[in-house]
Symmetry: C2
Subunit: 438 residues, 2 copies
């Protein structure tokens, strides 16, 4: 075994995930070598401040602020800096110098993936990014390889642990959004500025990546319709619970035909009602899961930890060992295909059910008028439930109306909601939420 080859591994970034990757590369060197067929030697860690304090103790001499020199001399580059620049330029430099790249940078992939894929092809190197979606859960490789002989029709993913934790807290304790967010921040599940998570931007980048691999077509961030959870109220959660649903922030990619029969993919992120018996409804706390429907395979679900230094490091190292094996054994780079070329559909073309909560005047004929309005818009009602409240002091009655529609095109649904708002018997529309899994 004296002839065993050594591959130089450059690490860019030493945050939560990067530090764990470095630790495992050092601590598990022997096991990794035996699985790879080559020694994976951590040649350096590029960071902004080489003197910064870190949670994991790592040899001082590995650190450098000269990322460019490091990547030019590496066989494998792990990019965990995040952000667009300098990550983008360093990845391109690495590939141009013949290094395969492992990254967890979903923002960069969603924004500028095509440039990176093309460069990887041109340089005959691999670009892998399992860590970019759903942390430790092996999901991209199964989609790309295991399901390569099947046709995926729909992907529903809980791909953001922060929002799942918040919604789960609201569901189990009845808390308002602001209180559940504060609790998530206290426990370290949400950042001080939680915008990227709670407004769905993080999930949208992951949706673009999932859609691209599932439908063999490159979708960018601007193809993704995005709604966050900051407007989900405790009342929405309670009403959903009462009707047998749970509210989850889902990343959705599904193949649809528009009214003219043209096929496209609807890629979207929004709070969604799911029946409590749906496998995704049981995904609690900060866990992630991706539910896939394929023509032949049927329903599949992949479940695990979506974030955290050590779990995400597992995904990075899986990519690293696979890329290193490919170098040792020879052979091709990436194997995903983008021959599908199906267009992204606007949100108006998507087909879902709606849950609509209305505060209505309690007078005869209200239900009939509302039902008539839905029918005029071609939207079929599945469930309509009215609850009467009487204010003991004023003796005024008000009525709460909850409607679940059958599946209909988004454009028809939103037009219906607009029309309902114009009715004089409507005091207010209290919630409009999409429903999946029914």
């Amino acid at each position: 075994m004296s002839e065993v080859r050594t591959l130089k591994v450059a690490l860019l970034g030493c945050g939560n995930v990067g530090a764990q990757v470095a630790r495992i590369l050092i601590d598990d060197a022997e096991a990794l070598a035996s699985r790879t067929g080559a020694r994976l030697q951590l040649s350096g860690i590029a960071v902004r401040d080489v003197d910064a304090r870190r949670d994991v103790e790592l040899p001082r001499e590995l650190f450098t602020s000269d990322a460019e020199t490091l990547v030019k001399d590496a066989d494998l580059v792990i990019e965990l800096m995040g952000g667009i620049e300098p990550a983008r330029t360093l990845i391109l430099t690495a590939m141009q110098h013949g290094a395969s790249v492992v990254t967890g940078n979903k923002a960069l992939l969603a924004q500028d993936g095509p440039t990176l894929y093309e460069e990887a092809d041109k340089a005959h190197v691999q670009l892998s990014y399992e860590a970019a979606v759903a942390g430790a859960i092996p999901i991209l490789r199964p989609i790309r390889d295991s399901l390569s002989g099947d046709r995926i029709t729909r992907v529903l993913g809980i791909v953001n642990g922060t929002t799942n934790f918040i919604l789960d807290q609201m569901d189990s304790t009845g808390a308002q959004f602001a209180d559940a967010l504060a609790e998530a921040q206290r426990l370290g599940y949400a950042e001080a500025d939680p915008t990227a998570d709670v407004e769905g931007h993080d999930a949208a980048a992951k949706a673009a990546i999932l859609a691209s691999l599932s439908f063999h077509t490159r979708f960018a961030l601007e193809d993704v319709y995005c709604e966050g959870i900051s407007s989900v109220s405790a009342a929405d959660i309670a009403a959903a619970k009462d009707a047998g649903f749970v509210i989850k922030l889902l990343a959705i990619a599904e193949k649809l035909s528009d009214e003219e029969g043209n096929t496209g993919v609807s890629v979207r992120v929004h709070p969604t009602l799911l029946p409590r018996e749906h496998p995704l409804a049981a995904v609690r706390g900060a866990f992630n899961a991706v539910f896939i429907e394929a023509e032949n395979a049927g329903e599949l679900m992949f479940y695990g930890q979506g974030a955290g230094g050590t779990p995400t490091a597992s995904a990075v190292l899986g990519d690293l060992v696979s890329a290193a094996r490919r170098i040792v054994l020879g052979g091709p780079g990436r194997t995903e295909t983008t021959t599908g070329n199906v267009p992204a559909l606007p949100i108006d073309a998507s087909v879902t059910s709606y849950y609509i909560g209305l505060d209505v005047a309690d007078q005869p004929g209200v239900l009939a008028r509302i039902a008539q309005l839905f029918a005029e818009h071609g939207v079929s009602i599945e469930i309509m439930r009215q609850t009467i409240h009487r204010d003991a002091d004023s003796n005024v009655e008000s009525a709460e109306l909850r409607i679940v529609t059958h599946r209909a095109r988004e454009a028809a649904l939103s037009a219906t909601v607009e029309a309902v708002k114009g009715l004089d018997v409507i005091n207010s529309v209290t919630s409009v939420l999409r429903v999946e899994g029914v």
Copy 2:
């Protein structure tokens, strides 16, 4: 695209799965070609009786009874005949003639895997078998590739749909085993001779494959301890339910250290109590799921359809497209490693909790004597619950005692049960079942 290469695909066997594979190869030829980079041409289907009636309509001229000639002229061979011979010889012949092989033959892999792996290595071809474990669920590739930079510590799998359907029926309807089996047979979930399923032999072959990939060591069928579900009674299910558990037939592979500190892997199949809140407890009907614990990734679960022609065909085609891509792009064959070399441990060395049901005499001091006996064997009791029954006619009281132990070595647990049986205050030991996931 006139230069696109054609790869000849030979199919051996045309049962439930084989017929669907043939149908998809023909119907989806264009999509498969675009993902593969080569045309996958079904060159023939070898069957015993070319004139037999089949559920799927397939071109008559594809059928042949001369399997040997077919495999010698193929680039890719799909073996779905099942059984040991002639499948084994045909697979070896195919590889010796340079064909990569896709098989779903778990019995053959569990019995004679090492011979097949060695031949694949020698011939520089690929041998893939995703369909052999958990049908449509991508599980072998994630273990082999995605988790290649991690250390799997434990695998718990519901890998037999027949037994999961039967146990789920017993759990939801209170049926006895024989009635649930009859229902499974009526619905086509169980075969006329259900032995291989209900006695755990099918799950044991899958356990050997899962253990081999998870621990980088080759385990054979004889390394697997196997107990089926035919002795699980409605009373066992009811008692488990009452205590917050569900009974599942699990395939288990876990790394343990024996009393001398030597590390090994316990591979076993047996009916197992799981807490109702465990992710595997929610796997209903004939669905399969594999739950993996890894040092860095933490807990992962993979869920989907474990059997059926079309779902299993999806796994076969995923392997086929991956193998074909490898041929088109050049490069190495299989990439799993067997450098782990950890020994298989006997069942006595495994560590679990026990659930024990006892019918005991209702007299003072019985609980204390039993507790004392457990303590003498070094087995710690977690829960002990006594229920008193009084026969209204005879006025005789009997007591039912249910014990859940803490985790202990199997040898100590079984010795404890033997000793308990010898106590004069014990009328009978009504059930002894292992517990996981607590």
